[in-house]
Amino acid sequence: MTTVNKTRGGDVIELQEAGYGYDGRALLSGMSLSLAPGSFHFLTGPSGAGKTTFLKLLYAELTATSGRVHIFGQDPLQLSRDEVSDMRRRIGVVHQDCQFLDHLSMRENVALPLTVARRDVSAEAANLDELLGWVGLAQQARSLPPELSGGERQRAALARAVITSPEIVLADEPTGNVDWEMSQKLLNLLVQLNKMGKTIVIATHDLNLIRAAKAQVATRVLRIVGGSIQAAGADL
């Protein structure tokens, strides 16, 4: 077991000896850590180490096969499907492949969390436009996802992740398909969100991105090695 941070009351996410495996093989095991509100975390590790799986545990797309994961103080295994959906509305996720609905415009895709929450999108049009402007996609609002570049899609995914002002933002390789300049822009957006009090977790291979973030905000770097999670050392 590797304990990165002692658990304490009020943490948005808490893992206790959590693990995940399938077909009798443990991919992740013995993970214990807490994520405080407003904290900023990077998650690193070699390809296939389980970074994406770890993130999926944090928004209950996967459930721990050992130990416990508490999200906002609740164990997803104890929640109904509707309650899990409600919980996910408090978490914004930027997927590695963005996952848009290709038949909807970018504006509709970004507004999707509002739509599924049955909120009046037209009443929040001003916020939506402001958000699209914030991520630099005001001109692409009516474009379909396949018409956008990789960087634009990543920014749109970020906009969708934060449209409902979630308490946690999880990003899986958000700069994986973009150049350094765009990586910096995306990082700046995430740093701004963190300064608004959001808890940020970014899975990335990009050490330069981590160093750039450290220059702007207090961050904690976690590394997955051999199926367990540990704090990264001073090499970063």
Binding site: L62, Q99, L104, L112, P113, V116, R118, V121, S122
Partner: protein, 294 residues
């Protein structure tokens, strides 16, 4: 039903349009509605036939007198006298030679020399509402007119009414089977649509959509498709029934097949019923599939 009627802001837009399953659903619902209209027409027509055959045959009987020519007139008069004093008999009369010739004409042609043939004398008996006691009447006829045989049409009436009743039951069973088949086909189409849109469903779940919201997007779409298809099929079915040949030209068993009077309103329940079946089938299929997802 709320999901169907309420203007969902973008709820049904989240599922991409799928032309193939849409066309299949509309066609299937239309075809089933068309068949349902015919099954309904058959059921209603056989119901009327059963009532009519039962009522008409039950109200009339025949006495057949087979006697030597010299006794025929006397026995006929005796039988008519008996019948006129029998409780439950409203009228009794001996058929004329012309009427008997007309009855035999389909088999022997118009030039039948009735007077040269030993044809029995027929007496038509019309019952009143209470009817008569056939057993008692038979005994009296046996005593006073040995050549007279009473035929109260029971042996004709019973199988006819039974046949008509069975046809009516078959019609109702057909309607139920059509409803079940519609449900099954829409379930298959909904499952296909859910599989084809697995990625969409996954994204919706991840951004916080509840199962009911996702299901409603499919339910609304399939229900409306079934309604549109059933409206077309029902209209076509009703037009086809209306264009069936009239009884005067078709005759025979087809007499009265179709809708009469207020029965024309019955097919109008087919489209809403088809929509209801689609709603239930799609909701059940969608919720079952969604429960298998995280």
């Amino acid at each position: 039903m709320t999901a169907l009627l309420s203007p969902e802001s973008g709820a049904d837009r989240v599922v991409p349009p799928s032309g193939f399953t849409a066309s299949l659903t509309v066609f299937s619902a239309g075809a089933m509605a068309f068949l349902a209209v015919f099954a309904m027409a058959l059921s209603l027509a056989t119901s009327r036939l059963a009532d009519r055959w039962g009522a008409e045959l039950a109200r009339s009987s025949t006495v057949r007198i087979s006697a030597p020519e010299e006794q025929m007139a006397a026995q006929t008069a005796a039988v008519v006298a008996i019948l006129q004093t029998t409780p439950g008999v409203r009228a009794a009369r001996a058929l004329t030679d012309a009427e008997q010739t007309a009855l035999l004409e389909p088999w022997f042609g118009p030039d039948l020399p009735l007077d040269t043939l030993p044809v029995p004398q027929l007496i038509e008996v019309i019952e009143d509402a209470d009817g008569f006691d056939p057993q008692g009447l038979r005994l009296r006829l046996q005593a006073e007119a040995p050549g007279a045989v009473l035929d109260d049409h029971t042996r004709w009436r019973r199988p006819l009414v039974e046949a008509a009743n069975r046809l009516r039951t078959l019609g109702i069973m057909s309607l139920l089977l059509i409803a079940a088949t519609t449900g099954a086909m829409i379930t298959l189409a909904a499952n296909a649509a859910l599989s084809a849109n697995a990625q969409v469903v996954s994204v919706l779940r991840l951004v916080g959509a509840r199962d009911r919201y996702i299901a409603n997007a499919f339910v609304r779409r399939f229900t409306l498709r079934a309604l549109v298809g059933a409206l077309g099929g029902t209209a076509l079915g009703m037009i086809s029934i209306a264009l069936l040949p009239k009884a005067s030209t078709a005759g025979g068993f087809l007499t009265g097949l179709g809708f009469q009077g207020v029965h024309w309103f019955w097919p109008l329940i087919v489209p809403p019923l088809a929509a209801l079946v689609a709603l239930i089938a799609t909701r059940a299929a969608a919720l079952r599939v969604l429960k298998g997802l995280t």
